[in-house]
């Protein structure tokens, strides 16, 4: 779901908040929404949304469903759905997404690749259900 600018001030209950005042480094791998308000370096991988707040600095590659940038990102961004760079946002890296929106004032220094919608659909292994017949059951019990 697309977010408006006001959402950046109050991202609805993100599972992960990387706040100000501390230095966070490393690999972040999670399953929910992530909001970065402070400084982070490393890598962020989630199947939820990622919001880089207005005063945030992220020195990391980011992978998520939708990625909203109001602060600064040094690294590549991969979004399954949309990347939205707001007027205060700055991305120094390559971006890959199904949709890209850059507001006036927003900066992208890097290449942009549009993901094919089909590519975004996860591959599912075919599964087969075989109904067990009475003769199969008999064979099994015989073998025991």
């Amino acid at each position: 779901m697309s977010k408006t600018r006001s959402d950046f001030a109050d991202f609805a209950n993100p599972d992960t908040i990387l706040g100000k005042g501390i230095e966070i480094k490393g690999q972040m791998s999670t399953q929910g929404d992530v909001q970065v308000n402070g400084a982070f370096s490393g890598k962020i991988t989630t199947n939820g949304d990622v919001v880089v707040g207005e005063h945030a600095f992220v020195d990391a590659d980011i992978s998520g469903e939708n990625v909203y940038v109001a602060g600064e990102v040094e690294g590549d961004i991969h979004a399954m759905d949309k990347i939205h760079i707001l007027e205060t946002g700055r991305v120094n890296g390559n971006v890959t997404s199904s949709a890209l929106e850059i507001e006036a004032g927003g900066i992208l220094k890097g290449s942009s690749t549009m993901r094919d919608v089909e590519e975004a659909v996860p591959e599912i292994d075919p599964t087969f259900e075989v109904e067990e017949t009475q003769s199969d059951k008999d064979k099994k019990s015989d073998s025991k």
Binding site: G19, G21, I22, G26
Partner: protein
């Protein structure tokens, strides 16, 4: 039948003083029981092996923190209900369940309310619910703010702690992430429905404000410039450096009946 494992040394050898009343109440509440004295905590696995059988309805741990930790470590089956009967003042797991006196614990066994809980570990101590790491000053300030009736009456919010009250910390999560900086406190909550077992909330100091960081993790290691107490309930369990883990083990704990009945007994 309930197997009562009693630590006779707990609470200043309290059991010997209350034994008659204890057994009297068990009989009055019609709790079938077998009481085994623990001479040495290391014997607990053997005691359980010899005494727990198909007729055992549950294991009641009578003692303090050390006894509780030793028994939980030894109880292999997650289906054996465990009751905690506090004898000493240091029994934070009993406190977390709302059990403050041994009589309350026996009443809970007579009318068991089983709860399935995920356990956490602070060092060697098991805990349920949450644990907190905070500087002494912050704990005192929090207590004063909470208990000050004038502030409550005037609706004054808790003041922002000063920079001096923040302690430089070095935190590692899941051996994958490091967090450094001035921290007022850390709260760790056990969560049962997430892929990660702990919800770690770090309150850092930024520009005269408290900035919150929330991260899900399985384990946390924390070191600090000054020693910081690790508190469970109202009890200081240990100090930093500390390791806190969410344990995969679930146990069935016997807790008191729901609140309504609690209120009645208070009256």
């Amino acid at each position: 039948m309930y197997l009562f494992l009693v630590n006779p040394e707990a609470g200043g050898k309290k059991f010997s003083k209350i034994e008659k009343r204890f057994v009297g109440l068990l009989d009055k509440l019609k709790i079938k029981h077998k009481i085994v004295m623990i001479e040495n905590l290391a014997d607990i696995p053997q005691i359980l092996d010899e005494n727990v059988n198909t007729r055992t309805e549950g294991v009641a741990i009578v003692g303090g923190n050390a006894t509780v930790n030793a028994v939980i470590n030894a109880v292999v089956s997650e289906n054996t209900p465990i009751a905690i009967v506090p004898l000493s003042k240091t029994n934070h797991l009993a406190t977390s369940l709302g059990i403050h006196r041994w009589e309350q614990a026996l009443s809970a066994i007579a009318n068991p309310n089983l709860i399935d809980v995920r356990l956490g570990k602070v060092g060697s101590h098991y805990f349920i619910g949450s644990a907190e790491i905070a500087s002494h000053q912050n704990i005192i300030e929090k207590y004063l703010n909470k208990s000050n009736p004038l502030m409550k009456f005037l609706g004054i919010r808790q003041s922002v702690p000063s920079t001096q009250m923040a302690v430089d910390m070095d935190i590692t999560l899941d051996q994958q992430m490091t967090i450094k900086g001035p921290v007022h406190g850390i709260r760790v909550d056990l969560v049962s429905d997430k892929d990660k077992k702990l919800r770690v909330e770090i309150l850092a100091h930024d520009d005269n404000k408290v900035a919150k960081t929330v991260i899900m993790a399985d384990e946390l290691e924390a070191e600090s410039e000054k020693k910081m107490p690790v508190v469970i309930g109202n009890e200081t369990i240990t100090h930093t450096p500390v390791e806190i883990k969410g344990v995969s083990k679930h146990i069935k704990l016997i807790s008191p009946a729901p609140k309504k009945e609690d209120k009645k007994t208070k009256k």
